[in-house]
Every structure is written in structure tokens, then in C-alpha cells.
């Protein structure tokens, strides 16, 4: 009822798979052509190794970070309606920290890098600087001599850059960092590059496709706004790039109605199936449509994230590489500003108020001894040392304190 866009998307999915509509045929042709373009951009690199044994404790960690969600639209009496899977499907088996505070900078890059380092970061909001202290990726890889393919971050947030995968700390850095993938950006880049290079012979009508892409890129919808696809450098390790691009091509061929988070989920699941990394972080950001002022779309984004984290948990339980040895952590980056704030309420996340800082975290799986609701407030920086301990890393000095409820 209140998820208008989601309902539309589902209806669209049925249409898209049907054969009745002439529009569908042209849409499928275009998407099929787009898939070929991406396939054409693939590099003939070797695939990364599969089924490696996890170093350290053998424990795996999957973290799903969702953008800014207020308590009012999640774990509150009026908000539970938007998170049915978290409440009913995941909640009963989970360790739910009802109050997980973001006491740092409530901007995307700083919030995520604080969660990943266990220290409140205060670097450039737009990812022009790396986190100042080692990320969990680096701690894990350096400490346990894990391979590059064993740590990944997948995101659709426009405010992140590949610097989120490794710090600027001495003795650490990109050498020990994660593979960072921005699938939506990669998809758009592949198509744009193909158009630029004239490799569009597979299209029925090149001019039409180019005009269509121009329209899409011109920002007639929020999905197109803000992506600087022409300057975006592909930082991916060549050894894994082929797999990523193939996955994107598959996604495009699949052709369901999609959002950035759907693509991020699809890519995350592909990475789990192809590489089975021990440490995987995925960042969902559809809720950030709030910055564009649509409350209905923001609510739809919450429902989408709720569904996708549940599907991610289902994948963890179904995938033998993950089943019974994985801790799954779900948390928002922060809340959003309260109604009545000078920052226009839910649009933003800048206010120094509980609505923005007081959020929650849910843990499931092998690291959860006993399902419980923990009312004691924790800080988001407490999560990194807790996860590091689960992975078998020696603890680094940090502002966070390991949580006693999480243990392998």
C-alpha cells in the first residue's frame, strides 16, 4: 500500500518477462545488446581461485550496511511495518542490539570507514582520502596472510570511492585492502565506453540507443544523477574483473526491473558463489533516495533492503561455503534527521540528534551464542574488533571494544 514504487517494480517484472508487449521486445533487445557490450569489454584474465580454505579461525563474516534509516521507520512501533523480514524472519534467531550509536561523522564515507576500522574516522566526506587506521580487510589479510580474493566490498553508494577498501595507515594500505566493486557504475561505464568506441553494431538502432542512453544519463531520474561514469577509474584486480563483468552482463540479460540495491545484491551473491570470500561487506543505498525528497521511495528503499538482507541470509544458509560458519551482521550507517530539524528532516543525516545517531545492529549465525535483544547501547566502532576476533585476528588498538555477546 505504502510502497508504491515497489509495487510498480513488481508489476514491471511480470511485464518484462512476458512476451505480449511490443515495448518489452524492444527493451529486451536493448538489454541484450547492452549485455553483449559488457561481454565485449571483458579482459581475458584468469579467474580467481575458488573454494579456498579460510585462513585463521575458518569463520566467515558477511556485513550488510544499509544507508540511513531512522528508528521511526524501523525498530519502533510505527516502523516495524517496513521491515517485516528483519522482524519476523531474522529477528527470532538474532542478536539485536537495539541501540548502536554512530558517535562520529554522519556522512557515508566516514560512517562506513568508522564501522570498518573500529575508529571514528574524520576524513573527506567524498572519499578523496582513505581511512586513517587499518580496515578490517587489512587487519584480516595482513594478520592471517589472506589472499586478495578473500575480502570484498560491494556498494552502490555514490559517495563511496575505492579508497573505502584500505587505509592510509603505515604498514597497511591497498596491498592488504579489499576488492571494491561498484557494480552500477561498472555497468554504466561499460555501456558508455562501448558507445564511445562505436561497438554498438549489435544494436538494432545505434542512434536510438545512444539517444536513449543520453536521456538516461541526463538525470531524468535519480538513478542517473551523480554518477561520474566518465572519470571513474576501474580499480578492480584484473584477476577478478572478468567474473565481475560477466556477472553484470548476466544481470543485464536477466532483465528484471532493478534498482542499484538489486544489482548490488546480485553481485554480492555472485561473489559469494564464485569466490566465497571470508570477509564480505555489501552496502545497500536505495534508502538514500531520501536525499531527493521522496518519502514513499525512501520507505520502498527500506522494504527493499529488508528483503535483500533476508535473501542474503538465505544465500548464506544455502551455500555450503558459508553455512554454519558465518556471522552475518546487518546495520544502518546512521539514522536520519528528525522531523522538524533545520536540515529538512528525513532528507538528510547531519543533525547531532538521537534520530540521526541512535540506530541498531542485528547479528545472526555462527557468532551468535544466544539470540537476544540487547538494550545496552553499543557503539558502531565496537563491531570491528568483535568481527576481527571472530575471524581470528589479533586485536589492534582501537576506539571500539569487543562485544561479549559475539563469539565464534
Amino acid at each position: 500500500m505504502e510502497n508504491g514504487p515497489l509495487v510498480d517494480a513488481c508489476a514491471g517484472a511480470k511485464l518484462f518477462r512476458g512476451d505480449e508487449s511490443p515495448q518489452d521486445a524492444s527493451r529486451r533487445r536493448f538489454l541484450s545488446g547492452a549485455g553483449l557490450l559488457i561481454a565485449g569489454a571483458m579482459l581475458p584474465e584468469a579467474r580467481a581461485a575458488q573454494n579456498r580454505k579460510s585462513p585463521g579461525s575458518g569463520h566467515k563474516v558477511v556485513v550488510a550496511i544499509v544507508g540511513g534509516i531512522r528508528r521511526a521507520e524501523s525498530f519502533s512501533p510505527e516502523g516495524l511495518q517496513y521491515i517485516p523480514h528483519l522482524v519476523s524472519d531474522l529477528g527470532p534467531d538474532s542478536l539485536l542490539y537495539l541501540h548502536a550509536h554512530n558517535d562520529g561523522v554522519t556522512a557515508h564515507f566516514n560512517a562506513i570507514s568508522s564501522i570498518l576500522t573500529g575508529n571514528w574516522q574524520r576524513v573527506d566526506d567524498w572519499g578523496n582520502q582513505a581511512p586513517a587506521t587499518p580496515t578490517l580487510f587489512e587487519q584480516y589479510r595482513k594478520n592471517l596472510r589472506a589472499e586478495a580474493g578473500d575480502t570484498w566490498l560491494v556498494a552502490s553508494n555514490k559517495a563511496l570511492t575505492s579508497r573505502i577498501g584500505a587505509s592510509s595507515a603505515s604498514y597497511y594500505g591497498p596491498e592488504f585492502g579489499a576488492n571494491v566493486v561498484f557494480p552500477k557504475q561498472l555497468m554504466l561505464m561499460a555501456i558508455v565506453n562501448a558507445l564511445r568506441n562505436g561497438r554498438t553494431r549489435d544494436m538494432a538502432d545505434r542512434d536510438k540507443v545512444e539517444a536513449e542512453l543520453e536521456t538516461a544519463m541526463a538525470g531524468s531520474n535519480y538513478e542517473g544523477l551523480g554518477w561520474n561514469v566518465f572519470d571513474a577509474a576501474d580499480q578492480l584486480d584484473p584477476r577478478v574483473r572478468t567474473t565481475i563483468e560477466t556477472a553484470i552482463a548476466d544481470f543485464v540479460h536477466g532483465g528484471g526491473p532493478t534498482s542499484g540495491d538489486e544489482l548490488t545484491f546480485f553481485m554480492t551473491r555472485e561473489i559469494m558463489r564464485k569466490f566465497a570470500p571470508s570477509l564480505l561487506v555489501t552496502v545497500f543505498s536505495d534508502v538514500e533516495v531520501a536525499h531527493f525528497g521522496s518519502y514513499a521511495m525512501h520507505l520502498a528503499g527500506i522494504r527493499t533492503a529488508d528483503r535483500l538482507v533476508y535473501q542474503l541470509w538465505q544465500e548464506i544458509e544455502a551455500n555450503p561455503e558459508y553455512r554454519d560458519k558465518t556471522t552475518f551482521l546487518i546495520l544502518p550507517e546512521f539514522g536520519r534527521d528528525p522531523d522538524g530539524s533545520s536540515t529538512n528532516g528525513f532528507f538528510n543525516h547531519r543533525a547531532d540528534e538521537d534520530s540521526t545517531r541512535d540506530t541498531w545492529a542485528m547479528a545472526l549465525g555462527a557468532g551468535v551464542g544466544q539470540p537476544a535483544i540487547v538494550e545496552r547501547p553499543i557503539r558502531q566502532v565496537d563491531l570491528c574488533p568483535s568481527l576481527a576476533a571472530l575471524l581470528g585476528c589479533r586485536p589492534l588498538e582501537s576506539q571500539g571494544t569487543s562485544l561479549p555477546e559475539l563469539r565464534g
Binding site: D8, A218, Y222, L225, S294, A296, A300, N344
Partner: protein
């Protein structure tokens, strides 16, 4: 440059009224810290294109500053004086580019961890200014009207959830001619209290017929400007080195002529409309966001006595696959989603109205267009109750304003 060395000639590029105003207070401005002055000039440089309420606020602020003794100036601006700026910032042409300076100053304060100190100084200054200049009550009770749900045939979930507790909920209104009755009431108020930019009608779609004394802004009327802006943004995004902050700075400097707006238009309103599109995230693409943001900015800047906002359906969220194929260049409208957006927009409209002087006497009406549901917040009506009176919207408004 330090403010102490400011001379009248340095403001030669300012619009005439802004220049006159600044020069009249130059002696006082010279005594102020460099971390503060560009922020003052940032407001003053647009004086010629501000609404009367804003012009009055700038005039009064400068008058208060000019009235302070040397000791008081030192006391008021001590926090700002303790902020240190880089030599590059001090050399910056902050007289002619105060907005750009403010952006760079903000970034510098962030990197040097002085942001909190600056915020504290600004908060203390604001409090002192407010004490020196208590707001005056409006000449008539302020009236806000939000019309939501255009085109929605039926909606079963509760509406106005966040406002109901503040007023009376009406469930059996007579909806016929509701829009016309409400617009007529706005027109009558404009005639009775002829204040420049005092009575507004904002439409998220195509504006309905309305009285000549009403200031009107509509999403439809800005179609051309929005298209020009999106084209401009896309061109800028493609430029090497362009990032979110650079783009924001670029957008802040756009003028009505850059977006093809009529030269013969109202220069104050044209500037306002450009700001709506360049400063409001989402206003370029979602009509509901445009209507909400316009209401917020009109209340904040023009402080109208009457503000009617009519939300219209926005485009449906387009999935990425559809964006790539663009098989449907005229996207469908999302009626229900727009109603939810507008319901929240109406709540924010009321909140923002309550920030203005005379809040305790102000009246707010939100109506589900074409339907029987409305909520009214008024000192004349009880709070948190429901009424099943079958009255039309004209009479309801009379009741609320009585």
C-alpha cells in the same frame, strides 16, 4: 585582505542597493573578523534580489552591528576572531565571491578541526542577534494550506497522522469546488492585506486559475528551466575534476538567464526559482519534492502570510533496466507514492510555518483533494478530536480563521 582595509570602491561590482547598504555600514564592517565578514556579505550581495522580509532582516542586522561599541563588538565576535584561516583564504577575493569563499572556508574549518568552534561562535552570535531583534508579529493570522493526493481515487490508510494530534480531523467534508474555494480565500486575503510576496500559491503541477495579487510558482511553468538545468549539470559532471562540491558551487552561481528564464520576469521571483532548482536536491525531477522544498523556502525566506501548496503526482520511480532501455520516455505517474510524499510534505509545511512569528495564532489546513478528509490546526478548534460535520472547504476555512 583584512576587513580593516575595506574601501567603498571594492564593492563597485555589487548590485546598486547592496552596494549602498554595505557602504553605509562599512565603518562597522571593518571592525569584524575576516572569518565572519564574507558570510555577512554572502547575504548582503544579493540584497537587491531578496524578499522584503529578508531585506529587512539584513538591514536590521547591519544596524545592530553598527550600534555596538568597540567593547561590545569584541565581545560579540570573540569566537569568530579566534578562528584562524589559511593565507590562501585570506588572499581570496571574498568581497566579490563571498559564497565561494564560504564553501572553501567550510572545507578548511573541517580539515583544521575548527568546525565546532565556528558553529559555537555562529550560534552565540545568532542568539545575541535574536535578543536584540525580537521578531514582530504578523499583521494577520498566518494561514497555511496543503492540498494532497491529486488524482488518487481511494486510499485506505490513515492520512495526516503526524498533524492530527495538533488539530481537528474532519471526515465528512463536502469536497466539491474545494480548490476553487481555497484559492478564492487566498485571493481575498491578498486583497485585504496587500503585502508584497505575502500570499503564495505553489503548485506541483500546472497552476490553476488564481487571483492576480498572488505570488505563484509552479512545477509546470519551470519545465524549460528544469530541462536546461539537467543539461547543464550533465555537461558539468562530464568535466574532468568535477566532484559533488565543485558541482554545488557551480550550481550556486547559475543565474535565471543561464536557464533560459524570461528576462521580463520578476527578478526577485526568478532568482528564487533558480535557487529552488539549484539548491534543492530532487526538485529537478520529483514534483512532490519541488512543492515541499518550495514551501519550505518560501516560508523561510519570504515569510508569507498565506501559503497554499497543492501537490501533484510525480513520476514513478524508474527501475535501472527501464532507464537503460528508456522504452517509456514519458514515465507513468505514481499517484499513491505521491500521496505519501505529500502527506509528509504537508507535515513539514506545518512544522516550518510554526517556526515563524505568530505561530500560536497561525492556522493550517491539509486536505485530501477531491475527498472528504482534512485536518485543521487552529486556535479556534480543539486538538486531537474528530468532526463529522458536512461543511465545504470555504466554510471550514472561515471556521478555522474565526
Amino acid at each position: 585582505m583584512q576587513p580593516l582595509h575595506l574601501e567603498p570602491e571594492e564593492f563597485a561590482k555589487y548590485p546598486p542597493e547592496a552596494r549602498m547598504l554595505i557602504v553605509a555600514h562599512l565603518e562597522a564592517i571593518r571592525q569584524l573578523p575576516v572569518s565572519f565578514v564574507p558570510n555577512l556579505l554572502r547575504e548582503a550581495i544579493d540584497y537587491d534580489f531578496k524578499f522584503p522580509a529578508e531585506r529587512s532582516a539584513i538591514e536590521k542586522e547591519l544596524t545592530v552591528i553598527s550600534s555596538l561599541t568597540a567593547a561590545e563588538l569584541e565581545d560579540w565576535f570573540r569566537g569568530f576572531a579566534q578562528i584562524t584561516l589559511s593565507p590562501a583564504l585570506e588572499r581570496f577575493d571574498w568581497v566579490n565571491q563571498p559564497a565561494r569563499f564560504a564553501e572553501q572556508e567550510s572545507a578548511y574549518l573541517w580539515t583544521t578541526h575548527q568546525q565546532d568552534a565556528f558553529r559555537d561562535a555562529a550560534t552565540a552570535y545568532g542568539a545575541r542577534l535574536l535578543a536584540a531583534l525580537p521578531p514582530s508579529e504578523p499583521p494577520v493570522r498566518r494561514l497555511g494550506i496543503a492540498i494532497i493526493g491529486q488524482g488518487v481515487a481511494a486510499y485506505d490508510a490513515p492520512l495526516f497522522r503526524d498533524i492530527r494530534a495538533q488539530g481537528t480531523y474532519f471526515g465528512k467534508l463536502v469536497p466539491e469546488n474545494g480548490l476553487q474555494l481555497l484559492l478564492a480565500a487566498v485571493g481575498s486575503r491578498a486583497k485585504a492585506h496587500p503585502v508584497p510576496y505575502g500570499h503564495w500559491y505553489v503548485d506541483g503541477g500546472d497552476a490553476a486559475e488564481h487571483g492576480p495579487l498572488i505570488t505563484c510558482v509552479s512545477y509546470k511553468a519551470l519545465d524549460g528551466a528544469r530541462a536546461a538545468l539537467l543539461k547543464n549539470m550533465q555537461a558539468e559532471i562530464r568535466r574532468p575534476g568535477m566532484g559533488p562540491e565543485e558541482l554545488r558551487t557551480h550550481l550556486a552561481e547559475l543565474m535565471p538567464s543561464d536557464l533560459g528564464m524570461e528576462k521580463a520576469g520578476d527578478p526577485v521571483l526568478d532568482r528564487f526559482q533558480v535557487k529552488l532548482l539549484t539548491e534543492g536536491s530532487g526538485t529537478q525531477i520529483f514534483s512532490t519534492t519541488f512543492a515541499q522544498w518550495t514551501a519550505r523556502e518560501a516560508l523561510r525566506r519570504a515569510q508569507p502570510l498565506t501559503l497554499l501548496v497543492r501537490f501533484a503526482p510525480r513520476q514513478r520511480q524508474r527501475p535501472m533496466s527501464e532507464l537503460l532501455s528508456n522504452s517509456n520516455p514519458t514515465p507513468e505517474l505514481d499517484f499513491t507514492g505521491s500521496l505519501i510524499d505529500a502527506d509528509m510534505g504537508a507535515f513539514y509545511h506545518w512544522i516550518n510555518q510554526q517556526r515563524l512569528p505568530g505561530a500560536s495564532q497561525s492556522v493550517f489546513l491539509a486536505w485530501f483533494e477531491g475527498h472528504q478528509q482534512a485536518v485543521v490546526v487552529s486556535p479556534s478548534l480543539p486538538r486531537g478530536v474528530e468532526s463529522m460535520s458536512a461543511i465545504d472547504l470555504g466554510k471550514l476555512l472561515d471556521l478555522a480563521l474565526s
